[in-house]
Subunit: 617 residues, 2 copies
């Protein structure tokens, strides 16, 4: 395709309202434009990336027997009233009336539509399992749309739904999807983790989230593409490195969640769910005598630890929570932090929050800062993190303002109802499978698979007759991929900073894209330097024809622009290979630049297709 | 793909609410389901047809340098207020408010969005022409959605827009689109006509509509596929033929418009615009004396003709119209009908309707039935169809109730201000290019190309600087294809009636689809007759693998259904080739049925791929 025919409105500067680098570059490189808050037009380059990604999905879903269909986006409210979500979904749901004043919504998701479709068409277990999906714009009237494609009001989703007569069948399809997702994201070139999901909001049982990992910014070498003018990163002066780091830090780290993953195994979880390896110590330590000591004006664990000269690991932190109206005392080792999600999940409570000072005084007779488990009334529920069971001779609050106990010991001095994993995992700790150490990263959710069970089939009466002719609710799974946000998720991993040395000896750096090859909008960017040079133009045309015949997709910059403008645009657009047709055109010699490495080589046009085929392997 | 994994909910009967056969079969064959009035889900088979059609479009548009993008469907009302259409578009426009109470619409078309996009990004004539398109659901809150996909509230469109610095460039792109549309519809296997469009509603200049021709029902042979049990159509008893004709006539003829097209040239037009060849006669006829004759109780042309024994061709019909408040007298030859669209277009009037009796008496002093052009006041505007100029010695009303003139002659007895083409063309007349005779057919609009000019760029201030640095409004074209309605348009041409003779000697007929090969959801339907027969199942699997490898898309009916059910479903689904794996499986012999002809042949599986390749040519 000739670039003059494309709509690629590149900008000289970063857009002033972008907060994350992926979005800033999508706008600057002419891939997307905002039409209204949180609503975007995908310009030709972005549309090509999306279509390529859709085709990758289609191939992998066909392989697991999922079939594509297309439901409407404009939905009558009836089914949502049936499922109950018309009222409960909240202000994010776009509601409208048609000319007959009937209620409609713009679909944010299609559980109801698909459940109704299957309810109407399938009556026997013999027609199950069924595994359907669609790729379609979805609508959520976000209160604060932000980060470009990452949180928009109209966005493209792949949403799949499976229908089963029994849970074994659901499990099988769920695993098929898990593997298909892994293949899809791998083919998209992504660094991603499948993590244990919190499926609560969808009423699901098992669920898994797929998170694209936002790259680490400490290792600058991953971010830089050095021009041939620079031999090695070590050559770049410190003040330039500092400027580059400053530029990087100007951009928010994208991703809603912190992921804890193992550097030596498959383990990965949202930090809120992350656990660590727990081994009970086998060594025996003598229990010393419980001693009450004055700790005037000492409140925090750190102050206690310093005042009494005991390590924080030898102290217990006593927290008080109100869980659905009941007071719960929670013990943690002094250097640990409570993970409230774990506490909430463990208690199975709807509502968990720190107790007020009044509630606390009622139970302990003391205020925050001197609380401890010793001598509490028996009817107070005390639960502790697993680690608490492993420490002896600990320092705890004495439930008397200004006093602590030293050498308190479990069972002898206080009792605990349950030991469970309640602490927030820390970076560097052993993963729960013992297979490596935990690393933390921010992640962008790109996919989510759920075992929905009968949440929708029961409320909507979607039954099939089983082997015995008995009506049973259909068992369902649902499977989503955020298609438009993939663009941002990919670019968070594939933007780079080009560094070059000018002929005056200065170092210049500039942002650039570096698309993974299966998703780049075109494979090769052919740039005739001077479109008034007939030899170069003819050679360029020949190259386009040859490469196209060899199966490559080629964008040819046929514009009458200065070469500096062309190169700058080419860096922004970020195709894997740039072929420059310059002064040596008469000798049929062109320059090939491999974007990912910055390497360049001169190639005779007669060898070009073959050279690119080899490089592409 | 295994059929057991597909969602193809075929029905035993035609849906009771369908009026056109294409829609009835789309529902019955499990291609689509209505979700709410005028809003459909495209089930897996329909989705595949749509995707294939989209890809045909993409290839042809790429060839003319049009680039695909994707704008949102949920649009702020702002731009529509700018263009004025927010108020003028009427009740078909879906309007809604977001959570901040801002006005939004669901896009029925995207002139405003695209004009604004280009206005914001392109400032110089050097970046033009630009030619962009998208494929997307559109929304129109139709008062009476009907005929299934032909008139829906959510439907898929391909809408393209071109932007130019001058009209020559627009003309060129308009021609490119015209040819691309012809290629696309030809590849889709359609019988279609490009007709002169009435672009008035879009504010356009030139426009052309593409109409899929609804097939003639008089020639039954085009509709029937005879089973091998029937040698020839002549063998079918008359009472069966009568039943088939009755079944055909149960279905409305689809298509909003009547098309007049030449059987010997490219000429085609909406009947409202259709013209005929007009040649002034060169023969001279002596003018006879004007004679007033009594014609008591004689009103219509037919009555006058019979009463005075003159051919209707020798009479003049005098009509009176009110055009924007002015009285206009219209003369036609007695056997012609006025085409009001031609009259309206000729007068350039907003509002044209027959004059009332009171208005008529005021001008003529007589009532309907005795009107004529002789002796009218000079200030009355008289226009006549071209044919009126060619007849002499005509009979006209005498403007006196109960009297006519005979032998009235132009100039001598009455004057005409203008002669223009005002008559309604008739089937069998010569086309205006003289290249053939007119035939009439009903048509479904599948595409429309417009020269928009500056309708949107002027109202929205979309300018570019020209060669002299002067701001000029961008010149635009717009180009639509109705993608979802294509499904119905194609099927109106490709449904068939299968006729077979039972072994009792009865004749049975049933509806069937017969998809053109480039759009069929799969190429081949492989049907193992008995899925408990291991040999047949294994052979079927081998066939699927072999044909898939040879590049064919295969649907395998792996369901444990009776063979009658499988064959009936196969006829409804309508793939081009059916391969039945039956009793001769052990000998590797299968039956191949070519749907379009009803021909069957037995083929050894080892020769199958090659045989199908030959048949496919």
């Amino acid at each position: 395709m000739k670039q003059s025919k494309m709509l690629i409105p590149t900008l000289r500067e970063m857009p002033s309202d972008a907060q994350v680098i992926s979005h800033a570059l999508l706008v600057r490189a002419g891939y997307v434009r905002q039409v209204s808050a949180g609503i975007y037009a995908y310009l030709p380059l972005a549309n090509r990336v999306l279509e390529k990604f859709k085709n990758i999905m289609r191939e992998e879903f066909e392989a697991i027997g999922a079939v594509e269909l297309l439901a409407p986006a404009l939905l009558t409210a009836d089914l949502w009233k049936e499922s109950g979500r018309y009222e409960t979904y909240g202000a994010d749901l776009y509601k409208l009336k048609n000319r007959d004043a009937s209620d409609f919504i713009l679909g944010p998701t299609h559980e109801e539509t698909m459940t109704a479709l299957v309810r109407n068409e399938i009556t026997s277990y013999k027609k199950l399992p069924l595994n359907i999906y669609q790729i379609q714009p979805k609508y959520r009237d976000e209160k604060r749309p932000r980060y470009g494609l990452l949180r928009g009001r109209e966005f493209i989703m792949k949403d799949g739904y499976s229908f089963h007569a029994n849970y074994d069948s659901l499990d099988e399809t769920y695993q098929d999807y898990k593997h298909a997702y892994e293949k899809i994201f791998t083919r998209a070139g992504l660094d991603f983790k499948g993590i244990i999901g919190d499926g609560g909001a969808m009423g699901g049982k098992d669920s898994q989230e797929f998170m694209a990992i936002t790259p680490d910014r400490t290792d600058l070498s991953q971010w830089l593409i050095l021009d041939k003018s620079i031999a090695d990163i070590s050559e770049i002066p410190d003040f330039v490195i500092k400027d580059i780091k400053q530029e990087l830090s100007n951009w928010l780290i994208a991703g809603e969640d912190t992921i804890a993953y193992s550097d030596g195994s498959d383990y990965a979880a949202n930090l809120e769910m992350a656990s660590t390896e727990f081994v009970k110590p086998t060594a025996y330590t003598e229990q010393l005598e419980l001693t009450k000591v004055a700790t005037p004006d000492v409140k925090t664990i750190e102050e206690v630890s310093a005042f009494l000269d005991v390590p924080t690991e030898q102290t217990i932190k006593t927290l008080v929570y109100n869980a659905d109206g009941e007071i719960v005392v929670v013990l943690l080792r002094g250097d640990d932090e409570l993970n409230e999600v774990k506490l909430t999940n463990h208690l199975g409570a709807d509502f968990v929050e720190p107790a007020t000072e009044d509630e606390t005084i009622k139970v302990f007779g003391a205020t925050f800062g001197s609380l401890g488990p010793v001598g509490l009334p028996e009817n107070v529920k005390i639960i502790a993190d697993r680690v608490v069971e492993t420490i002896v001779n600990v320092t705890v609050g004495a439930n008397e303002d200004g006093f602590h106990y030293q050498n308190a010991n479990l069972e002898r001095d206080f009792k605990v109802a349950e030991f469970v994993d309640l602490r927030t995992a820390k970076e560097g700790e052993l993963a729960p499978d013992g297979g490596g150490h935990l690393k933390f990263a921010r992640g962008i959710e790109i996919g989510h698979i759920f075992k929905l069970g009968t949440r929708y089939s029961e409320s909507m009466g979607a039954n099939v007759l089983d082997e015995n002719g008995k009506a049973k609710p259909i068992i369902m799974g649902s499977y989503g991929i955020g298609v438009s946000r993939m663009l941002s998720a990919i670019l968070e991993q594939f933007v780079r900073i080009n560094v070059e040395k000018t002929f005056k000896g200065d170092y210049k750096f500039s942002w650039s894209m570096n698309f993974p090859k299966d998703l780049a909008p075109y494979d090769v960017h052919v740039i005739p330097v001077n479109v008034k040079d007939e030899t170069a133009v003819a050679l360029s045309a020949e190259i386009v024809e040859t490469l196209t015949k060899s199966g490559l997709q080629v964008l040819e910059d046929d514009r009458a622009e200065r070469v500096g403008v062309k190169f700058a645009d080419s860096d922004l657009i970020g195709l894997p290979v740039r072929v420059t047709v310059g002064k040596k055109a008469a000798d049929r010699i062109v320059e090939v630049k491999i974007r990912a490495t910055g390497d360049t080589l001169e190639v005779n046009v007669d060898d070009l297709a073959e050279t690119l085929a080899i490089l592409n392997q």
